[in-house]
């Protein structure tokens, strides 16, 4: 650029009717260059003054929109996470409840079983005990009946033997003993 400007300065000092060569081939005429620079400056200023804020606004809006979208996405994500958490909790709760119900059912079934078995055992024991008692009672009764029968027979036999053996002298002895016992009774 510096070289270019130097050239421009030199060029201005030199003969204008010179055959263009070298660098002058690519460079425009100086007037053209000045007009171009001024036009550029005007366009630059216009863009700088009116275009930049518009671009800035647009960028800001865009940024805001993106930020808002991000935030919304974040919120949605949070919501989804909390929902998921909720569902998980509910699921866990439901599972727990189900387990509890199953456990309860198992326990009550167990209790019922124990109860039924216990009752059946008690009843069986009762029946056995009753049967034993009845058998014992029956045996006792039979024994008592036999004992009574034997006693009655023995006594009948004894009575006959005694009746046979009580003669006059035995009678006298019995009566004498009765009288002496009467006297003792008084004493």
């Amino acid at each position: 650029m510096l070289t270019l400007l130097t050239r421009i300065a030199y060029g201005a000092g030199e003969v204008v009717e010179e055959e263009p060569s070298g660098l002058d081939l690519v460079l425009p005429e100086i007037n053209e260059l000045i007009a171009g620079v001024i036009a550029f400056a005007i366009v630059f200023v216009v863009i700088w003054v009116w275009g930049r804020p518009a671009i800035n606004r647009m960028l800001t809006a865009r940024q805001d929109a993106i930020t808002g979208q991000l935030t919304a996405a974040e919120a949605t994500k949070h919501e989804a996470e909390s929902l998921l958490m909720d569902y998980k909790q509910q699921l866990a709760k439901a599972r727990e409840e189900a387990n509890k119900i199953v456990e309860d059912a198992r326990q009550s079934a167990e209790a019922l079983r124990t109860d039924v078995v216990g009752k059946a055992e008690a009843e069986a024991n009762q029946i056995v005990r009753k049967a034993r008692e009845e058998a014992a009672g029956e045996r006792e009764r039979a024994a008592a009946a036999i004992r009574d029968e034997v006693a009655a027979l023995s006594l009948e036999l004894a009575r006959r033997v005694v009746t046979e053996s009580v003669d006059a002298s035995a009678q006298k002895k019995l009566v004498d003993r009765y009288i002496s016992e009467l006297e003792e009774l008084k004493a």
Partner: protein, 178 residues
């Protein structure tokens, strides 16, 4: 028969026997007839059968007792039988014996034995029973083979049992009621 009526009959017979001067004998004989009545099913059935006419009953009494008892005793038995009170004969005879004894300030001791007791034994029994009961007793003997051996005396409500039958019953009670 109510108690007071038995008493009445006994009193009537007592007065009658006293009037005849035969109280001791009549009382004794009626007592023995009553025991015979108790121990002989035949006699009891004959005298209490309602289908049998009174004349037949009197004939039975004469047949069975005529040669053993005094006329007076037979008449009194026939008197009771004639009134249809034969069933109460033992009670009346007992009451009569009690009253006759009471006339002499004595109580009756009914003594049952398997065999007849001799006079000496009866006297000893009377003495010892009197001592045991604290009363002046008059012994009335009854022969009852079912006692087997020994003696049982009943003075009023008191029974003093020394018979073989009683012993056997005691043994039976011990053996059976355990």
């Amino acid at each position: 028969m109510p108690d007071d009526r038995i008493d009445g009959y006994a009193a009537a017979i007592l007065e009658f026997a006293k009037a005849e001067g035969e109280l001791a004998r009549i009382g004794d004989e009626l007592f023995r007839i009553a025991r015979a009545f108790e121990s002989s099913d035949e006699l009891r059935e004959a005298l209490t059968d309602p289908r049998l006419p009174v004349e037949r009953k009197k004939a039975v009494v004469d047949d069975l007792l005529g040669d053993k008892m005094s006329r007076l005793a037979i008449s009194l038995v026939n008197f009771v039988v004639g009134l249809g009170k034969a069933t109460d004969l033992p009670l009346i005879a007992d009451r009569l014996a009690e009253r006759a004894a009471a006339e002499r300030n004595k109580v009756i001791a009914e003594v049952r034995s398997a065999a007849e007791l001799d006079e000496k034994t009866i006297a000893r029994l009377a003495k010892s029973l009197g001592k045991a009961t604290g009363k002046d007793v008059e012994v009335k003997t009854v022969v009852d083979p079912s006692v087997i051996g020994g003696v049982v005396a009943r003075v009023g409500d008191v029974v003093i049992d020394g018979t073989v039958r009683h012993r056997l019953e005691e043994i039976r009670d011990t053996l059976i009621r355990r």
